[in-house]
Amino acid sequence: MSEPLLKIEDLKVHFPMKRRSLFGGERRWVKALDGVSFELAAGETLGIVGESGCGKSTLCRAVLRLVEPTGGRTVWLGKDFSELDGEDLRLERRNMQIIFQDPLASLDPRMTVRQIIERPLLNFPNRESAEERRRQVGELMELVGLNKAWMDRYPHEFSGGQCQRIGIARALILKPKLLVCDEPVSALDVSVQAQIINLLMRLQKQLGLSYLFISHNLSVVRHISHRVMVLYLGKVMEIAERDDFYRRPLHPYSQALISAVPLPDPKLERLKPRMRLQGDLPSPLNPPSGCPFRTRCPRATDICAAEMPALRDYGSGHVAACHHIEM
């Protein structure tokens, strides 16, 4: 088996909370990510799903070291990425880029589209002339479906979907191998979401990109991902091949998630058996002991409070962390 593009081992991101009193007392931590491990192959999309507090936003930043992990290891193209520093780290950034949820906020309002897209080229000067850079910007704009005549306009003159295309163009100009997508279509109108999803899938085939696709929308994730990973309160609940996940989710949380998504089909909706969770998501400030899902889980027993279940393999790469898997 060829070396995976990206290998995340036991990644942790713990944020320190202010001490309660000036004198001692235990330091408390917000465990945004608490031991996440997974792999990503070249040309593959890993969909990352979860609800508030699951740590998916922190994950995409920790992978890129925009937020420094407090534990664990990132292996990128065979090298230990977590050990890189300073200029070495900066140079490696060319290979991994990110697009964001709020398309307009991810663009500097004071720069023209051309300046925004060509900026990464200026960060790693390659003695290109201004003409050459302009040409590359034009090429990328066409690649993402924008009219290159608009390159001297400002972000606020574009719609949400167009801004997202600008963000994608900017992310691609350095020819990265990995694109981290943090909820890239959640803020877009439904009729525009499909355009961006198609664009991302097309670009993946054309350029051989790998995606970490973070989303709370399971339908979108089903469409675009090859594999799916479910997070809950900073821990991995399940990872599986896409079809295997949606047809045969093993973890009770995955089952609840899938059951909760309303289908645009009133007949099917009415007949669907429902699995409803009680209560709300626990706060990441105070996660339950053992398995974090146990407070809402229909199968929870004593062992769930005592011990965090390990990720076990149930065949063909389908892993889940639960004491009570029913096959």
């Binding site: 439904v190 009729s191 469409h223 645009p264 009133p266 429902r274």
Partner: protein, 336 residues
């Protein structure tokens, strides 16, 4: 301990009937720096008592403005024209003090973000009892009792204790329940809900949708749900109105509309939404272009620039609304 619940929505037909709200040629305009902007461009519909109606639309469709206008909550630079009759009484243009008697008692509203519609400085108990004292003339003690009952009904655990908390001490899902309970305290005839679950996690959304379903059935409340999420509509609504660019494109019973969408916009929307139960994963159908930033006083059909079936007259002639008693469609090219 959590238990799984199997629920089936009660079939339509058990609900009481009779027209409770009639909206006729509603137009909403805003005065802005760049001149007059039309948010709603001639919308007409009627609500029957006990119905759950979904208004579906994207940006610029004007869906939220319809609700705000009916409730009399329009911004200062906005003005509505046309007719809105609540049980035969014209309420568009009513003075605020008259409307105040209706709001909360006959019609109430819940919003997307519960944090901004609950006063962060007052305890929940204060906010709930205030509604009852004002509209039902109840005494403090009786109001408190009823408020706790209502919180129980929306499944807030330990309601008697929690009622004394402040809004920020509740989680997102709980806050939404508090808002629903506040809206239903006086058992209004109509509940307007503006994207009530959009900001919630999907498992919490499912709980809230179930709750709204059960409560509206119990209390016989008419619900108008504004959303962009077709799944939410399919899950909750009896009837659907599809809005685009400030006008109604299509309407009809939910099952019929989803099974046989007529209008090109509805069809495009349904075709371009990825489904959880899809089996193939090729290119999604797309509607080219993007929704208008604001609705315009367009001559013809507002969807024309993006429509794959457009004809020359779509640009200049406003489509007549075809109505067969159950379904309506506003399109030159398609017929019922």
């Amino acid at each position: 301990m959590a238990t799984t619940k199997i629920a089936e929505r009660p079939a339509a037909g058990i609900r009481p009937s009779g027209t409770i709200l009639e909206v006729n040629d509603l137009k909403v305009e805003f005065r802005t720096d760049s001149g007059k902007v039309a948010a709603v461009n001639g919308v007409s519909f009627a609500l029957n008592a006990g119905e759950v109606v979904g208004i579906v639309g994207e940006s610029g469709s004007g869906k939220s403005q319809i609700l705000m206008t009916i409730m009399g909550l329009l911004a200062k630079n906005g003005s509505g024209s046309g007719s809105v009759k609540l049980r035969g009484q014209e309420i568009l243009g009513m003075k605020d003090d008259e409307l105040d008697k209706l709001r909360g008692a006959s019609m109430s509203m819940i919003f997307q973000d519960p944090m901004t519609s609950l006063n962060p400085f007052l305890r929940v108990s204060t906010q709930l009892t205030e509604v009852l004292v004002k509209h039902r003339g109840m005494g403090q003690a009786e109001a408190m009792k009823r408020a706790i009952e209502m919180l129980d009904a929306v499944s807030i655990p330990d309601a008697a204790k929690r009622i004394r908390l402040y809004p920020h001490e509740f989680s997102g899902g709980m806050r939404q329940r508090v808002m629903i309970s506040m809206a239903l305290l006086c058992q209004p005839s109509i509940l307007f809900a503006d994207e009530p679950t959009t900001a919630l996690d999907v498992t919490v959304q499912a709980q809230i949708l179930d709750l709204m379903k059960d409560l509206s059935a119990d209390l016989g409340t008419t619900v108008v749900l504004v959303t962009h999420d077709l799944g939410v509509v399919a899950s909750l609504c009896d009837r659907v109105i599809v809005l685009y660019g400030g006008r109604i494109m299509e309407s009809g019973p939910a099952e019929d509309l989803f099974a046989n969408p007529k209008h090109p916009y509805t069809r495009g929307l349904l075709a371009s939404t990825p489904r959880l139960d899809e089996q193939t994963h090729g290119e999604l159908h797309t509607i080219p272009g993007q929704p208008p930033a604001v609705a315009k006083e367009a001559l013809g059909c507002p969807f024309e620039p993006r429509c794959e079936f457009r004809e020359p007259r779509c640009k200049t002639v406003r489509p007549v609304i075809q109505d067969d008693g159950s379904r309506t469609v506003a399109c030159h090219v398609v017929s019922l």
